[in-house]
């Protein structure tokens, strides 16, 4: 790939996926500074590994996988010194914790979700908040479709059981904040 083609492809992917990745990262990071660092790190990785990034729609879940590993390293306290991340962080307002759930959302659903183990929370959030399909989940999680199907089934079952136990009744609906995976808007990758 020529330098110009590489630059063009990166710009297209950046424009196409920035909001999705920023949203995913901000929904998962501990605070805005961590989110800024993770966004910068994720797209820096895309730039450096552009040749590894699959073409077409597969680029999106691939980049989610990158962001997921960046966040995972962040949680383990393993960071690289990333000058871009530092610079991006410097553009933020003073530190503010990222919201855990939407304000005014159903407390019971939020409480049950927060009580799940991290792997369950992760896979459910990728479906419900990021709108990934099962196939895309497999790419993002680096697992086979069969494993993803099983993990999702179990996570969903545990979540529903805990919801039932917590509420004993159907929770009151709150305003929708994000598209749903089924029938929702799908994004084309560059």
């Amino acid at each position: 790939m020529t330098a110009a083609a590489k630059r063009e492809r990166f710009e297209l992917l950046y424009e196409e996926l920035y909001e999705s990745i920023a949203g995913y990262v901000l929904r998962r990071a501990a605070n805005r500074e961590d989110a800024a660092e993770a966004i910068a790190e994720t797209f820096t990785t895309l730039w450096r590994r552009l040749d590894s990034c699959p073409a077409g729609e597969a680029a999106r879940p691939w980049l989610y996988g990158v962001a997921r590993r960046v966040l995972s390293n962040q949680r383990r306290g393993e960071r690289r010194r990333n000058a871009l991340a530092e610079r991006l962080t410097s553009e933020l307002e003073p530190s503010e914790a990222a919201p855990v759930v939407a304000s005014g959302s159903d407390d019971r659903v939020a409480r049950v979700f927060a009580a799940l183990n991290e792997p369950d929370r992760e896979i459910l959030a990728l479906i419900a908040w990021e709108g990934l399909t099962r196939e895309e989940l497999a790419v993002a999680l680096g697992a086979s479709r069969a494993v993803v199907r099983l993990r999702l089934h179990r996570a969903r079952r545990r979540f529903e059981a805990a919801l039932e136990h917590e509420t004993g009744a159907e929770p009151a609906p709150a305003p929708a904040r994000i598209r749903l995976p089924e029938g929702g808007e799908r994004r084309e990758c560059a």
């Binding site: 330098a3 990262v25 797209f43 419900a128 609906p173």
Partner: protein, 312 residues
């Protein structure tokens, strides 16, 4: 009407939408990040990870503008001699810094944990300059180099400069183009063009332009970054205001350094205190120059770069 599924219930508690998340950094930061990333050398292998302290810049969070154009930059499949960044591989981990002196080993020595070993710079074959201890064996394909092009380094510094450059005030496309051409002429960079990206290409509507150099295409690209004017009380602005008169004088490097230190100190800025009152001073002796130059860029901290003759 059927009851919502568990996934639908979960979707309703999403803490923030994609659109809201994108606004957290704002369009200017988004554009700056894109530019800053593309100025880095692509294709590096991922370095080993280790625990690192919180970036210094956390305390500079109020430093809300003018950051990213000073970021690392190298060529896409260009020559390593054309890059203006250096990748210091400290304990196998990448720390990318802006080149200042033209001697990459010397630049890395300044950020290496003391005492820095003897260092050697290499062209990594993919457009980057990497520095490792001279005692270590370079990777296959790396070739030793001793210097980088100071004119290119200075070009990028002048574009990012807070004292008189594009980050010193709001330059519209026309003023930014004139400024970029002046810098190319001053630095003797012949055959270069200045390319202006329109607002529609970056989604920005504000008229303040920043810029970056692309040596492989001999092009300075100017982009609208939004209004970069921060509060007058912002430490980098105060320092830039204080240093601006010095650019009208013809000083030796020692005299310029002394003036900068005095003025920074009077503003409560220190080279030793980490945090919001920290700045870094890099000075390079160049006896081919008649008068010292000074640039101030903002990255992880305030960077002041001086070049000039050792005596008047």
């Amino acid at each position: 009407m059927s009851a919502p599924s568990s996934i639908e219930l979960l979707a309703r508690i999403a803490p923030v939408s994609d659109e809201e998340a994108a606004e957290v950094l704002g369009p200017a930061a988004r554009a700056r990040l894109l530019v800053a990333i593309m100025r880095q050398s692509p294709g590096r292998t991922r370095p080993a990870r280790r625990r690192l302290r919180r970036p210094l810049v956390a305390a500079l969070a109020v430093v809300a503008v003018a950051a990213a154009t000073g970021a690392g930059w190298a060529m896409t499949r260009g020559s390593a001699r054309e890059t203006t960044t250096v990748d210091c591989l400290i304990d196998g981990e990448s720390t990318v810094i802006d080149a200042t002196s033209g001697d990459p080993a010397s630049d890395c020595a300044a950020v290496w944990p003391a005492p820095a070993p003897k260092l050697q710079a290499y062209d990594d074959g993919i457009g980057g300059v990497v520095v490792i201890p001279a005692s270590q064996k370079p990777r296959a394909g790396w070739t030793a180099i001793a210097s980088q092009d100071v004119a290119l380094i200075e070009l990028q510094e002048s574009l990012d400069d807070n004292i008189n450059g594009l980050d010193s005030s709001c330059f519209d496309a026309s003023a930014a183009t004139t400024f970029a051409r002046q810098q190319l002429d001053r630095l003797g960079l012949i055959g270069w063009t200045v390319q202006v990206r329109s607002s529609s290409q970056t989604g920005q509507s504000a008229p303040c332009y920043g810029g970056f150099a692309q040596p492989e295409a001999k092009t300075v690209t100017l982009m609208p970054f939004g209004d970069q004017s921060g509060p007058a009380s912002w430490p980098p602005h105060r320092l830039a205001d204080s240093l601006r008169p010095l650019t009208q004088e013809c000083l030796s490097l020692p005299a310029m350094k002394s003036e900068v230190e005095q003025r920074a100190s009077s503003l409560g800025l220190s080279q030793t205190v980490e945090g919001s009152h920290n700045y870094e001073l890099n000075s390079t002796e160049d006896d081919t120059m008649r008068c010292a130059t000074v640039y101030e860029t903002v990255g992880g901290t305030i960077d002041v770069v001086l070049r000039g003759p050792s005596a008047p």
